[in-house]
Point group: C2
Chain length 218, copies 2
């Protein structure tokens, strides 16, 4: 019931997308082009705007049935009736978050090291974001990069589906899938790209090729 | 059921109080000295720390039965099982907030002008914070000050109990009570004061004297 297709997981950035309208339009174009999850993340925004933006994105991507996940704010998630919530290690605990969003919404958790991984309760958490794989500029308080080796070590012990995050591109996506990722989460590989649809399709093709074990023309 | 005594309403400031421990200690000392409500407000903090701090404050003030109200975050309010929530005009709408905190918790709303006041639904909102009465330095995104005249005009039309906020001191508290305030909300009149207990008691005495219609030695 709480499964989502993590293949191409778009994390919105209000700066790169150009604010409220830019995030809605990026979501629409990415959903049409094959993005499978969209996360609304705008850490400096007030909640009134977050709820309104979440509702607008939900409506924009409804034709493609793409789930919307809200970053950090369980209250915004519930108010906007989003599909799920994503929390980091300094946000609500997964237990507290689950109590607020209820049993039916999807709950993702960011994991950056073995200690985080050991603490995961896969009865509460539905999937993990593992990273940052490479150093990132779109999250100011990110943990140190784990690299492909670190990702592989964490992925080998995954207790639930995982998505790789942290400067992930269509170029490295096939490697991450082969190392155990169920999908790739991207920010700047889609947000602010001159052609959001093409950027999304590159990721979709890269994922498909990696799963089919063939080669891919990016 | 959702009534709180608004008389001396302390809004915590992590900077002035000296962080987590300072906010807990300020809360304890103020509750013991007669503060009637405590609001946890730390807009730059992550939620893990907010929930932990809310729980610590609840425990610290339990001997005096002082209610704890969480600013902005309905999810933190529920996770910490706080007594209530306070929202501003850019936070969750009162309707969205009420749906998350449930029917039994107290809900306060910030109001700065006639238009805000006209929109208040007193079936959903339990009390209002009206202000800023005077220009404030402890809230960076505050609306323009309404002044004593503006406060009086808004207070005359109050649909529910109100607390005056915005650089309120023991000196001006009696005037605000006479103009219709049910209590005064303070930040720097308590937070960071050399003697939190004495600072709180000054406010308690000022309120009592204003209600008894007598004069007061501050």
């Amino acid at each position: 019931m709480r499964h989502v297709d993590l293949s191409v997981y778009l994390v919105l950035d209000p700066g790169l997308c150009g604010g409220f309208d830019g995030m809605v339009e990026t979501s629409r174009a990415a959903a049409q082009a094959g993005a499978t999850v969209i996360q609304l993340r705008a850490p400096t925004w007030k909640k009134r705007a977050l709820v309104e933006c979440a509702r607008a994105i939900k409506q924009a991507v409804a034709p493609w049935n793409v789930p919307l996940i809200v970053n950090d704010h369980a209250d915004v998630c519930v108010a906007a009736d989003a599909h799920g919530l994503h929390v980091g290690q300094n946000d609500l605990t997964p237990q507290d978050a689950r109590a607020i969003i209820g049993p039916d919404r999807v709950l993702g958790l960011s994991v950056s090291n073995e200690s985080h991984l050991n603490a995961v309760d896969a009865r509460i958490v539905d999937h993990l974001g593992i990273g940052p794989v490479f150093a990132t500029t779109t999250k100011l308080d990110a943990d140190p990069a784990v690299g492909l080796d670190g990702f592989a070590r964490l992925a080998a012990r995954k207790p639930c589906p995982i998505v790789a995050i942290g400067s992930v591109t269509a170029q490295c996506a096939p490697d991450l899938i082969r190392l155990g990722a169920d999908g790739v989460a991207v920010v700047s590989a889609i947000c602010g790209q001159p052609n959001v649809a093409e950027a999304t399709q590159r990721l979709v093709r890269a994922l498909r090729a990696a799963r089919e074990g063939g080669t891919v023309a990016l």
